[in-house]
């Protein structure tokens, strides 16, 4: 077994006004390298919270999270920045592309922050996501699906082991959503571990593993039962 992500007894509490909300309640979870995991559940169930914790974007109230054997839940911001530069790629539902930068420039952003040169990887990744012919277009000149492909290329440019996507098809029509899921499968086949939060159960079926979150608890069950 080659565990890449391991969460032990993680709990996350939020203050919402005077009320304390328990987003995750003593959750244990292990994800193996190369798995493609879908995370499903009702709105506000804690799906995104789980992803944020596993990606090192947030820290748990209690419990420990390990990425490739390193405890990221206790890391300082500087160390987490290094982890994000090397190990994690994040795809947002809203794409978050900079509108004044071209597709190529948007994809290059992580290289700027990690002070790496483009040794041809931008062209390669644009080819992988099928955007070679759109490299010099602005986000306003491409479709929603192409924007999400750009965001995926940006998340992959630094060759991370783990790709996390939060509702990546939430803003796309069914055809484009299927195309994006196919892209995730293709990325997964190249050895990347992929975690996807989605409401689209039809698409989630293609994943090797399904996590159903409800009331801050994970039910690690086959999707058909979850549905």
């Amino acid at each position: 077994m080659n565990i890449i992500l391991n969460a032990i007894g993680i709990t996350k509490l939020y203050q919402r006004g005077a009320e304390m909300v328990k987003a995750l309640n003593n959750v244990d979870l292990s994800i193996e390298k190369g798995e493609m995991v879908s995370v499903v559940g009702p709105s506000g169930s804690g799906k995104s919270t789980l992803l944020n914790l596993l990606g090192g974007f947030d820290s748990p109230t209690s419990g420990r999270i390990y990425l490739k054997g390193l405890e990221i839940s206790r890391m300082k911001e500087k160390e987490l920045t290094m982890i994000r530069r090397k190990e994690i790629g994040y795809v947002f539902q809203q794409f978050h592309l900079l509108p004044t930068l071209t597709v190529r420039e948007n994809v290059t952003i992580p290289l700027i922050f990690s002070k790496k040169r483009d040794n041809g990887q931008v062209d390669r990744i644009l080819e992988v996501v099928g955007l070679s012919n759109r490299a010099n277009h602005l986000p306003s000149q491409i479709s929603g699906g192409e924007m999400q492909r750009t965001a995926i290329a940006r998340a992959l440019i630094h060759d991370p082991d783990v790709l996390i996507a939060d509702e990546p098809t939430g803003n796309l029509d069914s055809e484009m959503a299927a195309s994006i899921f196919n892209l995730f499968h293709s990325i997964n086949r190249q050895g990347k571990t992929v975690l996807i939060v989605t409401h689209n159960l039809e698409l989630a079926k293609g994943c090797s593993r399904h996590l159903h979150i409800k009331d801050g608890l994970i039910l690690d069950i086959p999707l058909k039962n979850s549905v």
């Binding site: 709105s43 506000g44 995104s48 992803l51 944020n52 990606g55 974007f57 947030d58 911001e77 500087k78 920045t81 994000r84 530069r85 994690i88 994040y90 947002f92 539902q93 809203q94 978050h96 900079l98 509108p99 004044t100 930068l101 420039e105 290059t108 952003i109 992580p110 700027i112 922050f113 990690s114 940006r154 998340a155 630094h158 939060d166 509702e167």
Partner: protein, 394 residues
Amino acid sequence: MQLLKIAFKNLKRRRVRTLLTIAGVGIASAVFVSLLGFQRGYKEALFRDVDKMGYQVLITAKGCPYEAATIMLKGGAGLRYMEEDIYNKVVSDTRIDKITSQLIQVVYDPDKNESRGGYIMILGVDKSMLDLKPWVRFKSGGWFSSDTSREVVMGYEAAELEQRLVGDKFFIRGIEGDFTVIGILERTGTHDDGTVFMPLHTVQSLFKLDKKLTGVGIKLKDVSMIPEFEESLYNVPAIQVISMAQVKGTILGLVQSAQVMVNAVAAIAVIVAVFGVINTLLMSIMERTREFGMFKSVGASGGQIFILILYETTLMCAAATICGNLIVLIGAKWVEWIIRITLPYAPYGNLVVITPEIMIVSIFGAIFIGILSGIYPALRASRLSPVEAIRREE
């Protein structure tokens, strides 16, 4: 592509807001540059004007010494007269190197300036004036043929304005008969350029001011003797002795005290610009919370986001100050015109002098202000948690 390019392209996203901020900082910068240019230009022009009078000490009739000095500098009515005997009394003083006496008259001519009216400044002088102003050269012609001739020597601009050449006739309204233009001076860059010179005795006779003078200009052998020289004439009745250094200091002091007020307004303009930049950036950062979250999620450190924001403010302020400098360079003549109609005494020549040093100071000053006003917004942006951006997705 570098951070600087991202910063530059970010500014283009909200063009109107960026342009308005640039306009605000640019105007503040233009005010600042104009003030610095005026400080320098006015002082230089005043010193040049006073120095080009050619003397260090001026003897005039009793009255306000600075008013007298100013009228002698720029011309005007209302001068008091002193007796010519004073000249005879001091001329033999061994401390004196050069000395000249003069009588100023101002004649209003309603036909001048395309019938808008204007003054002709007439200065009665003798040849000793040329000893005190060795830089004065004749463009054409020469000095008066005698002390009582009906001849005029015209300053460069006076001759241009009246369109007179050597040998032409010159008329003065209210005075019978004509005068012959005997010489035209080269440009001096002082009020002499607009002056009509006549023999001293001719002016005394024409204006019925026999044996009267408006002033005696003196250059001493040694400038350190000025206080002692002033002291020695202290008890001579009906006259006063003014050192031109005092005149410079007093006029400059008067202008500078008015300038304190203007500087305060300029300082307020700069402060308003600083808060304008801070406000613009804070608004921009609030709107871009998700963007900074995205940056952090792809590996940006807090320091890099801090620098990105500083780049944005620096670019904005640098662009603004360059625009401000250009505005001043183009509009310096207008600023000068406003100053001339506002100030009671404005020296000859350029009043607003924009030097490369002033421009460099303003550009670096604006960049410094940009950095200063960017620090707080940049700190806020750099401290944003990546999860802030992601949470908003839910």
